[in-house]
């Protein structure tokens, strides 16, 4: 990686001698390399290659004792074993089901409630401290009381997940509605839009960038809450798998669990969150730039 580092830096600062004609002198391999660098997949996944290599190296050199740290081959073996036994697919689908319920209900509750609170200035002011307070009581702190209420069940996990998602979401909706430039509402009104049209065509899209941020934050918290709930409630799921493995001292399974969690988040980010953000915020060229004009 260091060999590629220097040309790029020189290109940026323009300090390097013979900046022009340098690319031409290099051969086909260089051009291929440049093309690779420009591709999105390479740029996002490429950096993981040296990290895995480092992990491998640390394991091979036995820097840490075997009972604390295992290398990629062991983890891959474990993956094969758990896949074969059907444990991993089962736990994975349990975790995803919970996440699905939590996110689904969270969005279903948080979005309408958020807009309802945001629409009136008075209501907004009255609800703001309540939202802040509920956001402040960390979602995981609800786990014990919810266990008292619903026992060790799916409802418990769902409740905590919904909680984690609803409050950041509502806060972001309220903040997003407040950020919609007043001029835009005025423009729509003076073009003949009624209240409903202003809401649908100005307020909602104007708040979307902030809402997208809220969904991201909510999922980030929800994700963690899921793992914590699975550890504490402890019946099934990836979080449970990791903690159970830790209890019996199976390091490779703990490592595997983390790798699975990471891969899942990556998929979630790449398949759902990022496209949504690209379709709204980036396509519209950042609402903030507009505001700065005003």
């Amino acid at each position: 990686m260091t060999s590629t580092a220097s040309p790029t830096r020189e290109k940026r600062t323009g300090r390097g001698p013979g900046r022009h004609g340098r690319g031409a002198r290099r051969g086909l391999a260089w051009r291929m390399w440049r093309r690779c660098l420009r591709s999105g997949t390479f740029r996002t996944l490429g950096p993981f290659v040296p990290v895995v290599a480092l992990w491998w190296l640390l394991d091979a050199l036995e820097v840490f004792p075997e009972s604390f740290f295992v290398g990629p081959p062991t983890v891959v073996d474990k993956l094969g074993e758990l896949l074969e036994k059907g444990i991993l697919p089962g736990y994975l689908s349990d975790s995803l089901t919970r996440l699905g319920y939590g996110v689904g209900f969270g969005l279903l509750i948080g979005l309408p409630l958020g807009f309802a609170v945001a629409m009136s200035r008075m209501v907004r002011r009255a609800f703001w401290p309540i939202l802040l307070f509920f956001q402040a009581v960390a979602d995981i702190a609800w786990l014990p009381i919810v266990i008292v209420w619903f026992g060790f069940s799916l409802t418990t996990v769902t409740f905590v997940l919904v909680y984690t998602i609803v409050f950041p979401l509502m806060l972001s909706v309220v903040a997003g509605v407040e950020q919609v430039p007043r001029e835009l509402v005025r423009a729509a009104r003076s073009l003949g839009a009624g209240r409903l049209r202003v809401f649908l065509e100005v307020i909602v899209p104007g708040a979307l960038p902030s809402v997208a941020g809220g969904i991201r934050t909510g999922l980030g918290y929800g994700w963690r809450a899921l793992v914590a709930a699975e550890i504490i409630v402890g019946t099934s799921g990836i979080g449970f798998m990791m903690f159970d493995a830790r209890r019996v001292g199976d390091v490779s399974q703990v490592f595997l669990g983390m790798a699975v969690l990471g891969a899942l988040w990556y998929a979630l980010d790449a398949l759902i969150l990022a496209p949504f953000e690209r379709a709204t915020v980036e396509r519209w060229g950042m609402v903030r730039a507009m505001e700065a004009d005003g």
């Binding site: 430039p181 005025r186 003076s190 073009l191 065509e201 519209w284 060229g285 950042m286 507009m290």
Partner: protein, 275 residues
């Protein structure tokens, strides 16, 4: 025909924190005829934008009346389209989506509104950009779009709030010429707020010069320059310089009074109304 009639307009703000009362507009009256281009000019902070906001229906006046097309103003409405200094284009709608917005609100069928949009995009020189997003346009193009969006809605009055203030000098001249061209060909009624004397003289049929706060109408200046106007020729006319100087003197006189300060400030406020 009178398109817009402003009568004894008065606006008093109450500062929410201190509870102090601030008079932004003392007493402003004037009319705009149909197909006329009237500019409102005044020293910065004199409340000219407040007048526009009241006409647009964004802000409620404390006293006096505003009548547009025979109806008193009550809230914003499509009969008064506003071109904002910040453009206020909907970033999530394409150029076309912005232009047809007003027509959609009125329920104009798609084919018809697309035809209208095309016509007005052509008028402001944006044909071929229909499917771009506003942030992909230059500042000048964005403001043309702002004008097209309002004109396509065929308002009784087009209200323009320092529309070219945030645009670089060269582009501004071009836009002023284009606006004059559009005005001369289609004759919309325009109410234009600015602090740029040359701009006001170049564009307007009449200029309403306001005093500093609390504002009153200091004088209404007729601009008798021939149309069509082009910067190159119009700015050369002795008449152009004369009117510009006259307006500049009016504004400067106001500042001198302000500089004289305290003792005379009281009656200085009363004087201009009589002038």
């Amino acid at each position: 025909m009178t398109a817009l009639k402003i009568d004894r307009l008065n606006k008093v703000y109450t500062d929410t924190y201190s509870g102090e009362e601030v008079t932004a507009i003392a007493d402003v009256s004037f009319t705009v005829r149909e197909g006329e281009f009237v500019s409102v000019l005044g020293p910065s902070g004199c409340g000219k934008t407040t007048v526009l906001n009241i006409v647009a229906g964004f802000v409620r006046q404390s006293g006096g009346t505003v009548v547009v097309d025979g109806r008193p103003v009550d809230g914003p409405g499509p009969d008064r389209g506003v071109v904002f200094q910040s453009h206020a284009l909907f970033p999530w709608k394409t150029v076309l989506g912005n232009v047809v917005f007003g027509l959609r609100m009125r329920g104009v069928p798609r084919a018809e509104r697309n035809a209208t949009a095309e016509e007005f995009l052509k008028l402001v020189g944006l044909d071929g950009f229909a499917h771009r997003y506003p942030h992909e346009l230059s500042g000048g193009m964005q403001q043309r779009l702002g004008v097209a969006r309002v004109l396509a809605n065929e308002p009784a009055v087009m209200l323009m709030d320092e529309p070219f203030a945030s645009i670089d000098a060269q582009t501004r001249r071009k836009l002023q010429e284009d606006l004059t061209g559009i005005f001369e060909s289609r004759r919309p009624t325009v109410f234009f707020v600015t602090h740029d004397v040359d701009e006001a003289v170049f564009l307007s049929d009449r200029i309403v010069v306001l005093s500093r706060r609390p504002s009153r109408v200091r004088e209404i200046v007729d601009v008798t320059l021939p149309r069509p106007r082009r910067w190159q020729e119009t700015a050369e006319l002795p008449e152009f310089r004369r009117i510009a100087n006259q307006v500049n003197d009016l504004l400067a006189g106001d500042e001198n009074e302000a500089a004289d300060g305290g003792a005379r400030a009281g009656d200085a406020g009363g004087e201009p109304g009589a002038a």
